[in-house]
Amino acid sequence: MDSKKKVDVIYRRIDDAFLDPHVFRKDSMLGVPGVMGAYLKGNVSIVNAPGTGISDDKAVCAYVPDMIKYYLSEEPIISNVPTYICERPQDLQYTLDHIEKLVVKPVDMSGGYGVTIMDTLTKAEVEEVKEKIKANPREFIAQPKMMLSTHATYIEDENCFEPRHIDLRTFTLMGKDFSYVLPGGLSRVALKKDSLIVNSSQGGGSKDTWVIMDQSSLDNSHAHGQTQSQSQSQS
């Protein structure tokens, strides 16, 4: 076996900042020096592409319905949770005026970190958050407190079923000339009673998530013989 092998595609699970010390953080020990140069010459693919994080920004995310209209001339099939972008003066004013009813989030954190549900705070804490937003409005968005749906969940300590709030993380793939959505996804459960924070990093759990086949996909799977046999092999 050769001691070195050319790599065509890198599915990276490290952030841009650590990818290449020649371009991003110079102190990164996790990345590959020169990989961005190879990428920009078209000699290797990096998945997802560097710089996709601009859409991760929660303030930018709020504009996805506008993107759908702009690029596809379609109406969004699924709405966003209404979002107040604190950088916009009128949104900032609304946020400050109605803060007790809102959930405040930093624009660039994931995993439920930094999410503040305002009606759980004391008056002094609320004032503190307001000051933080005013000092740095670009860094925050606010959303109405959405009541996540509940699902019967086994509570071990009580040996009974109780409603717990859940969400759904879907996984969508986009390749050259095809795309795919994983049927279902990860249903995350906020195990603490009444908690709305489902993230695993905050102690959430998960459920197997089933998507029922309809008659047409059933006919389809008979035709191809594959989906059907796969679902049978689960048993």
């Binding site: 070195k4 092998k5 050319k6 790599v7 065509d8 890198i10 699970r13 952030d15 841009d16 990164s28 996790l30 990989v35 920009l40 290797v44 693919s45 997802n48 710089g51 994080g53 601009i54 991760d56 920004d57 929660k58 930018v60 996805v64 506008d66 702009y70 690029y71 099939i77 699924i78 660039d108 994931s110 959405m146 009541m147 509940t150 699902h151 019967a152 086994y154 079923f161 109780e162 969400d167 759904l168 993380r169 879907t170 996984f171 793939l173 986009m174 390749g175 050259k176 795309s179 994983l182 279902g184 759990g205 998960s206 998507v211 029922i212 086949m213 309809d214 679902s231 689960q234 048993s235």
Partner: protein, 280 residues
């Protein structure tokens, strides 16, 4: 016999996924009802323990970080599955594809012609001040103009019964390994639950992911080499990285296993073999 859910109390002002009202299952849950109505708490509890053991035996643990310490724990799992009706899923699937398409066009536009910014649909400053804006990407087009090959979008169902998008994760969305292992665990623990049930399988995901990776290779050829680059075993999602690499049959590498020569990327196969991370 007292059924498992006879004392279940709905939470006021919330959409309950399972029940329309007290003791009235939604139609997509009829088959779950059939199974659970025959089960007592003792059986359910012991099955739940079995499931937990199955996760432990599969080595599925999660590093939980607090301010002061980190611990490896099992990702809490509950045997009672969530069921999505085919009509709900049809809308969700279309919605996700539409959204991903628009996001991808947006990223390409921002780094090339920036039309959407010039037309002031989205404020330029908002995009350009994002911490994740990468100047080096300006004027560059990746293979197939695809930027977000893998997107994890979080949705919630509000009390009005509709799904809403909470956020998109386009950097390193994690969690898919739990989708696959949850299904394996549930089908091992409650095999008869799946008998004759027409549920969309999830086990093809690693193949679809590999197909996605290969489709964006700079060269289309027979022996495309894909690798999964992980920050290493101290990352909270390391289990998922090794799981996906193994499922796809590709190398799991760390930065030190790769090097660049004349603007091409290579992996040091001998080094990988020594570390026991070489599957080839």
């Amino acid at each position: 016999m007292e059924s498992l859910l006879s004392k279940y109390k709905l939470k006021p002002n919330c959409y309950d996924e399972v029940f329309k009202e007290e003791e009235q299952y939604r139609s997509e849950y009829f088959m779950i009802d059939q199974l659970l109505s025959k089960m007592d708490f003792k059986t359910y509890k012991s099955l739940n323990e079995e499931a937990k053991l199955s996760f432990l035996n599969q080595g599925i643990t999660y590093a939980l970080y607090t301010a002061t310490e980190s611990t490896e724990t099992i990702f809490p799992f509950d045997l009672f599955p969530r069921v999505i009706s085919s009509s709900d899923w049809e809308v969700l699937e279309k919605g996700m594809l539409q959204r991903n398409k628009a996001l991808n066009l947006f990223i390409h536009d921002v780094y090339n012609d920036a039309k959407i910014l010039k037309d002031k649909v989205i404020p330029e400053a908002l995009v350009k001040t994002s911490k994740h804006y990468v100047k080096e990407m300006e004027g560059f087009s990746p293979v197939g103009d695809i930027y977000c090959q893998i997107c994890g979008t979080d949705l919630i169902r509000h009390s009005d019964g509709n799904f809403y998008i909470l956020e998109d994760n386009l950097r390193s969305p994690s969690g898919v390994s739990y989708v696959l292992s949850n299904r394996v665990t549930l089908s091992r623990t409650l095999p008869h639950l799946f008998q004759g049930k027409l549920i969309h399988p999830v086990s093809q995901y690693p193949n679809e992911l590999l197909r996605t990776l290969r489709s964006v290779s700079p060269q289309q050829k027979l022996d495309i080499t894909c690798v999964l680059l992980t920050p290493g075993q101290y990352n909270s999602a390391y289990y998922e990285h090794s799981f996906l690499a193994k499922q796809m049959g590709i190398e799991l590498v760390e930065g030190g296993d790769l090097f660049v020569e004349n603007d091409f990327v290579y992996m040091n196969s001998i080094g990988l073999k020594k570390k026991g991370r070489c599957y080839l």
